[in-house]
């Protein structure tokens, strides 16, 4: 038997190609939206993986350090390091800010870390790790910085000595790693005017500036100027130890909050990016409805354009299932063409997105099945119209 749908598509291939391309662009947008969501999840996972930690110890009653602010003393690690099952600890600070690059600025997450401890940059693709105590930085390639370029963080300039790949925050901002001491200063220290102002206020406070207690004012000012806080302590668990038990031990004995990798993933994915995920899901639903409506309209219009031929086909004895099959196959053909175009354009334009877009094969398969389902549903209206065609209309009068 002749494939009526195949012949019709070949006969008017130009119309199908252009319609398929238009539909494909819409499908491409849909696949990209799914890719953006996957990219956000992947960024969150990469953040956790790249930190090299098994546990995140943060301020009690907070969801820090990524989802909520958290402040710990930078000597908290000593007590944690002494607990059974703890192999290594590392202080870290995280600060999302606009870093200066010449006359321009770029949004980054500045990470303060201790070399040789959990939290140091991985995935180095160029240059070297930080070897000096101050004013060196390792930047992610997405920041746009090049080796030996200067990056200004607050009041100081840092020389980029290394470049990383896929080191990003949970919201996709590329990271710049600087030594912990520099990062503490950048995060917690005030500007010069504020420091002078605070000193004057402290000196004017008779409770803190007692002439009969020498050195008190200087001690108070020194404590105000120095900063000994970090956002979290990253912990690596010794081999063979259950991370849940170690976390429980930290919570119990150190009066701090400790999250395992699974808990941190839950915080990042279910809480931090949940709203964005819902936003994207809503957009995907709208796109699916719009795609369905467009396919439905196109197939319906194409079918109406063949009413006379359908009447003749029915008159010469073509079964309804053959006519319905022709329309369904054309709808599926259109969906297939649209999907191929959509997958191609989504793959082509994904690298140009400012944030990571992850196009997963599973999503593509689901997308393909969804397109086929939408096309099948969309063809129902056209099939109903075709089946209602009276073969008598082929005969005049």
């Amino acid at each position: 038997m002749i494939s009526l749908a195949g012949r019709d598509i070949l006969h008017s291939w130009g119309k199908y190609v252009f319609t398929g391309a238009g539909l494909g662009l819409l499908i491409g947008v849909t696949l990209s939206m799914a890719g953006i969501y996957r990219g956000m999840v992947e960024d969150a996972r990469m953040l956790l993986t790249n930190s090299g930690a098994d546990l995140w110890v943060v301020q009690r009653d907070t969801l820090g350090p990524y989802a909520e602010p958290s402040t710990l003393h930078d000597d908290s690690w000593r007590g944690i390091a002494g607990l059974p099952g703890v192999a290594a600890t590392g202080n870290v600070t995280y600060l999302t800010m606009q870093a200066r690059r010449g006359d321009d600025d770029v949004r980054v997450m500045v990470v303060g870390f201790e070399p040789g401890h959990p939290g140091e940059p991985t995935n180095l693709i160029a240059g070297r790790p930080i070897t000096r105590s101050h004013y060196e930085a390792v930047a992610d390639e997405k920041t746009g910085f090049l080796l030996n370029e200067e990056v200004r963080v607050r009041r100081h300039d840092y020389t980029v000595v290394g470049l990383t790949r896929r080191m990003v925050s949970a919201s996709g901002d590329p990271m710049i790693f600087i030594p912990l001491k520099d990062a503490q200063e950048a995060q917690f220290l005030k500007d010069n005017d504020a420091i002078i102002n605070d000193r004057a206020r402290t000196a004017a406070n008779p409770g803190l500036n007692r002439p009969n207690v020498p050195g008190l004012l200087d001690a108070v000012i020194a404590s105000q100027s120095a900063n000994h806080n970090v956002n979290a302590v990253l912990v690596q668990v010794a081999p063979g130890w259950d991370e849940n038990l170690v976390a429980e031990s930290i919570r119990r004995w150190k009066r701090l909050q400790a999250y395992t990798r699974a808990q941190m993933e839950e915080i990042l994915i279910a809480k931090l990016i949940a709203t964005s995920a819902k936003q994207i899901a809503m957009f995907l639903v709208i796109l699916a409805i719009v795609s369905g409506a467009i396919v439905s309209f196109i197939i319906y219009t194409m079918t109406l354009g063949k009413i006379r031929e359908i009447a003749v086909l029915k008159l010469i004895g073509t079964p309804n299932r053959t006519i319905a099959g022709m329309i369904l196959q054309e709808a599926l053909g259109l969906g297939l063409a649209g999907f191929i175009v959509g997958k191609a354009v989504a793959t082509l334009w994904a690298p140009y997105f400012p944030k990571y877009v992850l196009l997963e094969t599973g999503d593509a398969v689901s997308g393909f099945l969804a397109v086929m389902l939408i096309c099948t549903l969309a063809s129902i209206v056209a099939i109903r119209a075709a089946l209602r065609v009276d073969p008598a209309t082929a005969i005049g009068g």
Binding site: R7, L10, H11, S12, V312, K314, I316, G317, T318, I395
Partner: protein
């Protein structure tokens, strides 16, 4: 004794009901032998198309009797249609030729003819072979692989006739097949229909307004106000 290809008695068709009912056919009688080509002539609104649709089993008459090759296919005094599968009846036993050829534009010439055979269950090879034979008989075999849009009006009408003949139906219903053609081509189409009717012993009813082809019929049925009146034609050889 040869059974008539078509035999109808007292065929009626009423549209609507009550005060708004319209009697399109008021008791049509007609009998056509195999191989005979008859004309069906009448003014607009006389019931020609309704009669054609009843004969083509696309609308159901209201009363009367209709036989095809001696087989009762409609009996108003019984339960109406005497055949369950009207689609198969149209496919296997009735051919249609329209005013415009109404070929399927996305099939080539051969497949337009072969499709009817394939729908009747013939294999692709056999269907295409038979289609080519018919196209040869109708002198359009040289356009077998062409798209229908590349054919002239006369060629398209020949392909439409080939399609109608594909399953060798006992009856062909032709609805003003020469209307869009000039005199010469109209007479050529009538010549072909007569030739095919003889060759395949097919009864052909030609609905027409076309004065130039009326002299070619041996018998003409005039239809007026839903009733038929038979008249002997000139039967002029073309």
């Amino acid at each position: 004794m040869t059974l008539p290809a078509i035999h109808i008695e007292g065929l009626t068709k009423r549209y609507g009901s009550g005060d708004t009912a319209v009697d399109a056919l008021k008791g049509v009688d007609m009998s056509i032998a195999p191989g005979e080509v008859v004309g069906l002539v009448g003014p607009s609104g006389s019931g020609k198309s309704t009669l054609l649709k009843c004969l083509g089993a696309v609308i159901e008459p209201t009363g009367g009797r209709m036989q095809l090759g001696g087989q009762n296919i409609y009996d108003g005094s019984a339960s109406g249609w005497q055949i369950d599968d009207l689609r198969a009846l149209r496919r296997d036993r009735i051919g249609f030729v329209f005013q415009a050829p109404y070929l399927i534009p996305f099939l080539d010439v051969t497949d337009n003819v072969a499709l009817s055979l394939m729908l009747a269950g013939k294999g692709n090879g056999i269907a295409r072979q038979r289609a080519l034979e018919l196209l040869q008989a109708l002198d359009v075999a040289h356009r077998a692989g062409a798209a229908v849009s590349e054919l002239s009006g006369g060629e398209q009408q020949r392909v439409a006739i080939a399609r109608a003949l594909a399953n060798q139906p006992p009856v062909i219903l032709a609805d003003e097949p020469t209307a869009p053609l000039d005199s010469e081509r109209a007479l050529t189409v009538m010549h072909i229909l007569n030739q095919m009717a003889q060759q395949y012993q097919t009864a052909i009813i030609v609905v027409t307004h076309d004065e130039k082809i009326i002299p070619t019929f041996r018998r003409i049925y005039h239809i007026r106000d839903g009733k038929t009146y038979e008249e002997a034609g000139e039967g002029r050889t073309i």
